[in-house]
């Protein structure tokens, strides 16, 4: 039995109040074991992104608790959450979120700068990660000079830079064509193996679900497994 990295217990999240209130999450509980890739699947509006936000500390639940690596995060203040994002949790966005005037290598090194990693160590880590995502040749290129798939690879490398325990990816292939999307998912699968990182990814694509160790289905704010 592998110990869970993420423990979600009784999470509820409601937006608005009264008759127009939207219950995005209703008493959601599940665990994610360390070093696994879990696909979160559901229709649009089913609550996938809200759940990822709560788990990643970007949103606070109305009820319930989230433990990451044994640390209760729902009670953390802003600084505590910032520290959590620096040390343990990282994100990959559908729209990549790279800094346009920085090169691919500088984008990947951004979290290491925040962690004040020494320059030599940072550069070595950046080289390693760009090599990992197959972009060693494009280290000095800026995001505008890269294709969508390449940009997403840079984003994944950046997410891995600070060696997080948990990588959260919200529909990371949403803006990519099918082939590129599959290669990105394969990359994520690969980093689970090579870096030992736990990946929690939301997707609609059944092919991509096949790459996951486990699929968690969500509908109308409730787990459907």
């Amino acid at each position: 039995m592998i110990a869970p990295l993420v423990t979600v217990r009784g999470i509820s999240r409601t937006f608005g109040a009264g008759p127009t209130a939207v219950h995005a999450l209703r008493d959601v509980s599940f665990d994610v074991e360390a070093g696994r890739m879990v696909a979160l699947v559901g229709r649009s509006g089913s609550g996938k992104t809200t759940l990822l936000n709560v788990i990643g500390g970007l949103d606070r639940p109305d009820a319930g608790s989230v433990l990451i690596d044994g640390e209760e995060i729902t009670g953390l203040d802003e600084d505590g959450l910032s520290q959590l994002r620096r040390d343990k949790v990282s994100y990959v966005f559908q729209t990549f979120g790279l800094i346009p005037v920085l090169s691919a290598a500088e984008n990947v090194g951004a979290p290491l700068r925040l962690a004040r990693t020494p320059a030599a160590e940072r550069e070595q880590r950046v080289r390693l990660l760009l090599d990992l995502v197959g972009l060693a040749e494009h280290a000095e290129q800026r995001p505008g000079e890269l294709s969508g798939g390449q940009q997403q690879r840079v984003a994944i490398a950046r997410a891995l830079a600070a060696s997080p325990r948990l990588l959260i990816a919200d529909e990371p292939t949403g803006q990519l064509d099918a082939d590129t999307g599959r290669s990105v998912m394969a990359l994520l699968r690969g980093v689970v193996e090579s870096e030992g990182v736990t990946v929690l990814v939301s997707t609609h694509d059944p092919v991509m679900m096949a790459l996951a160790d486990r699929v968690v289905r969500i509908g109308d704010g409730r787990l459907e497994q």
Binding site: T50, S82, I99, R158
Partner: protein, 900 residues
Amino acid sequence: MIRRLLPAVHWPSVRGRARADAGPLTLAAVVVAAVTVLAGSVPVLLTKTADQAVRQAVRTAGEQADVQVRSDWEYDDGVSGGRVRDPRSAEELDSLRDRALDQLGPLRDQLAPPIEFAGGPYLKILGGSEPRSFRLAYVAGTSEPAVTWISGAAPRSSAEQPDSEVPYTGDPWPVQAGISETAAARLGIGPGDRLQTEDVDGNPCDVRVSGVFRPVDRDDLAWQVAPWLLDPQPGADGPGITRFGGLLVAESLPDARLAFDIDDVSLTVRFRPDASVLTLDSAERLAAAVLTLKATSGSSAGRGGAAQWTTQLDRVLRDVRERVDAAQAQASVLLSAVLLVTVLILLLAAQLLAGRRAAALTVARQRGTSIVALGTELLLESVVLTVAATVVGALIAWAVAGGVAWGWLLPAGVSAVLAGPGFGMVTAYRATRDKRSPANRSARRWAERTGALRRLTAELAVAAAAAIAVTVLHQRGASPSAGGTVLLPASAPALGALTGALLLLRLLPVTTGLALRQALKSTRPLAVFGAARAAFAARRVLPVLALVSSAALATFALTLSGTVGAGLADGAWRSVGADARIDLPDQPAMTTAALIERVAAAPGVRHAVAAEVTTATPVVVGGASRQVRLIVVDSAAYRVLLAGSARPPLPALPATAGPVPVLVHSSEGTLRAGDTMDLKAEGAPAVTLTAVATTDAIGDTGDVVLADAATLTAAGVPMVPNTIWVTGPGAAAAAETTAGANVVARTDVLRERRDAPLVAGLIRLAWASAFTLLALGLLGFALDAAAGAPERWQTLSRLRTLGLRTREARRVAAGELLPLALVAALGGPVLGVLLAVLTLGPLGLRLFTGQPGDPALLLPWAGVVVVAAAFLVMVVAVVRVEAAVRRRNRLSEVLRVGGA
């Protein structure tokens, strides 16, 4: 048919967009309204101020501004070889007046009622201890001025027959005249007395006092042409000579003609411009009409009704016109500056609006709305907005100035109408066009180079326009009377600011790129992110142009105002020569030394120095005679006086044998150090002077020669002091207490010049322009920040997902905004001062400051610091406001597509 030609307008979309973007639209409307107030009212106010200046000049000029028409009496030779008395002499004056009124036509409405004047020659009053003169005069407005005969009676005819003939030879013909009670008391004569007088040739005259009168109304216009008929006038016929007057009436005027040669009694009608109704235009029309009459009437008056017109009104108006032209040039320069920045801000606002509407416009296009239809909808919106804002602004301008000038409103109006639709159509087109970036690298480069070349061409065109504008400004100024368009030279500072802003725009990405490279080498993560955001933001064109131009032109306006202020202070000092000046009378009550001692002992007086100042003293330089302002003063004492002031120090005058050493000043370079000149003083031998050095200008204009009193006295020209210069905070009070009415205080001169309509108006306009430009610049900064806010905070939110803390995110945001603020805060003022150095000279500021040359440029440090600080404060304010606004948004939104 027309409906078919026009694109379909989807009114719900028009209303919806207007409602959704009510804030930016209102802001643009406020800008249009504010600029309408300024640009609509200033030309009207300037015209009114010019009219006010003309009235003041005409009032100050007094009789110099009068229009005179003169004629000669008809020959009065009789059949018996004598002269015939003409009882209708007064009617001849009436006839001349009526003819003159006919010739003036409608222009007579600009003139006060005419005054008829017939004056006798200079007569010397015999006896008495003081030199006195006497003149007979007949004056009449619509009728003779009313008087009360307090003794005696009005003058009567001296002849038994009204048209009797008088032989040329014989006793002087008697003439009766009334004298005022003041004159009677001074002369000690009364009715029936004969005044002992003789003409310039020593021939006796027979003037008999018929009565003593008192004027019923001393302010009657008729008395203005001969005030000495009421009160004896000292100095009117030469220094020390007091003029007395004898009043003639219609009955005694014929006798006055017989008493003197035919041409010794003048026949004149005077018209004084009516200052209360005069305007610059009407005054110029009047002067031109009189000059035409003068030209057509010949150089001398003729007999038989021929009249000669004369006036110096054109000369009076020439000075005013020159100052009005300069004021109009300066106003045009300031308005051009405000309009340029307004246009840039309106473009910036339109760009922001198009950015906000990008999604809606794209959807509209995707649903099949044509670009033309979208443009029409946006045009309708901007026309309604601009017209409404212009009407509001025009109403305010009307209330402020009593009129609206529409010409200057055109650039802002056109920009306000076209910018929104223009940016909107471009946004919609770009979002839905099929054109993609070429896949081929060389094709991409070709496209990039074509774009770069286009931009360079536009920049060079602006720079060329600026260079031409500055050249034209230097060659012929920006005065309307210089001919040609005023707009180009008046736009020189504005175009210069735009050119400078374009240069800074080129430098900014280089600078931020360098900063980013340096930051990447550092270990501070915030520096990297801040520099990265700054490098990203540095590519925006309009904000840099708008902010740098506004800061530069605000600084220019402040420098103009400061330079005029300092020039006025300097001019007042030069005119007075110290904090106060005592003009000594010919026969002072106490000696100069005693006066200086008393003044110097008064509290608040630092120095008091006596001098002899004579204007128009002839000296011979290089064989040519020149008129200079000769100042003879104790040079050591004067040096000490100047040392205690803000004036430049006075060079030392060496005590040498031979030519008298002097200091010279010449605004036109006619006198230089090393020149030798001969001074010929009255009753003294010629003295050779040698210029050993130059000195600062003393007095308003002209060449100056300054000599040491002791040295010049030793050379045979003793000093006769006529001036005392006094310095110190209590100088004016001490001088007034000691010397009474003959004191000129520097502060009074300064106040009078500063409060003059054109000067006061110019300074107010410069301040209003500086404030408006700065406000527009800050608004531009806010607009740019608002335009970049969504993208900025999305990126910052993503950085926060990497672990950036909230307060660190604020610093990174400040890092993005800082370069634009810095380039405006530092580059703008530097550019503004450079523009002032380049363009203030041809604007003729000396015409307002009363200095012999252009005033020295004064940099208003306090104002510049405010301009610079305002942009930096805006960075803090914008970051705080944005942080407060964004705090309401959850960070989780960044994980959603397009959210922030």
